[in-house]
């Protein structure tokens, strides 16, 4: 009782941010937003690949170097890896019951995803900027 009496914060202030993982619906919502983006970007990516079926190296590079394609590719890569991390996170949380293994996997998929996004983005930029 004495510790409670010393806490001068408003009860609402103490309750805020104390959802399941202290981030409320952030994970759920971001998963839906990236999903919506991937409906458009995924279909665009498949159609671009089909258009490049017979392309040789030079024309494949030329296609990626087009500004719109470069922008959409980078957007696709970011949305794809972000959505993948959010999904894998739930799978790991559901099935990995040893706490340290769970943490290691959760951090590892984030490292892999961030590095992959950076590598893909650099690759697209190198092609687009002609390096």
């Amino acid at each position: 009782m004495s510790t409670k009496a010393k806490d001068l914060r408003n009860p609402l202030k103490r309750a805020r941010g104390l959802g399941s993982a202290q981030f409320g619906v952030g994970h759920w919502w971001t998963q839906r937003v990236t999903a919506a983006a991937l409906i458009v970007l995924g279909l665009w990516f498949v159609s671009m690949l089909l258009g490049l079926l017979h392309a040789d190296y030079a024309s494949a590079r030329a296609a990626v170097a087009k500004p719109w394609n470069a922008v959409l590719l980078i957007a696709f890569v970011i949305a794809m890896f972000w959505h993948a991390v959010l999904g894998l996170q739930v799978v790991i949380e559901d099935y990995v019951h040893t706490r340290w293994k769970e943490i290691v996997l959760l951090v590892a998929i984030k490292f892999i995803a961030v590095l992959s996004v950076l590598a893909c983005t650099l690759a697209v930029l190198r092609i687009a900027l002609g390096a």
């Binding site: 995924g42 494949a60 590719l73 794809m80 890896f81 993948a84 590598a119 893909c120 690759a123 190198r126």
Partner: protein, 131 residues
């Protein structure tokens, strides 16, 4: 697991298989498969930026029998996750929860994903081989 004598929730083998169950399990399974497939996108883009030799190696690997089998699998996984993902977004909006609608939309996800996969690979193969 808590060390008590409480009854456990029934395991999968006790349930009667229903299509809604299959779509739910497949959504997660295809999601995991697609998360692995993101590395193929990474490889393709990085090799395209790295030079013609690296890109040709990528093309040879993805055009090999194993590569084609994996690509067909990823194509179906992508279309299934896409169709069923749209179904989930509709359900997130609060629609389609009547049992008959739920079962029908489950079948629509499965059938549409198979049809789209066949269409894409019919195009790829009649257009003269993959990659």
């Amino acid at each position: 697991m808590a060390d008590t004598q409480r009854p456990l929730s029934p395991h999968l083998q006790i349930y009667k298989w229903q299509v809604q169950m299959v779509t739910s399990i497949l959504h997660r399974a295809t999601g995991i498969a697609l998360a692995v497939g993101t590395l193929m996108v990474l490889w393709g883009l990085v090799s395209l930026a790295a030079g013609e030799d690296a890109f040709n190696q990528f093309k040879i690997c993805s055009g090999s029998p194993l590569g084609m089998i994996l690509l067909i699998g990823w194509t179906w996984a992508l279309f299934y996750h896409l169709c069923n993902g749209i179904r989930h977004l509709v359900q997130d909006a609060g629609a389609g929860y009547a049992i008959a609608q739920f079962v029908r939309s489950s079948w629509m996800s499965i059938i549409a994903s198979i049809v789209l996969t066949i269409l894409v690979w019919a195009y790829v193969l009649t257009a003269g081989g993959a990659a």
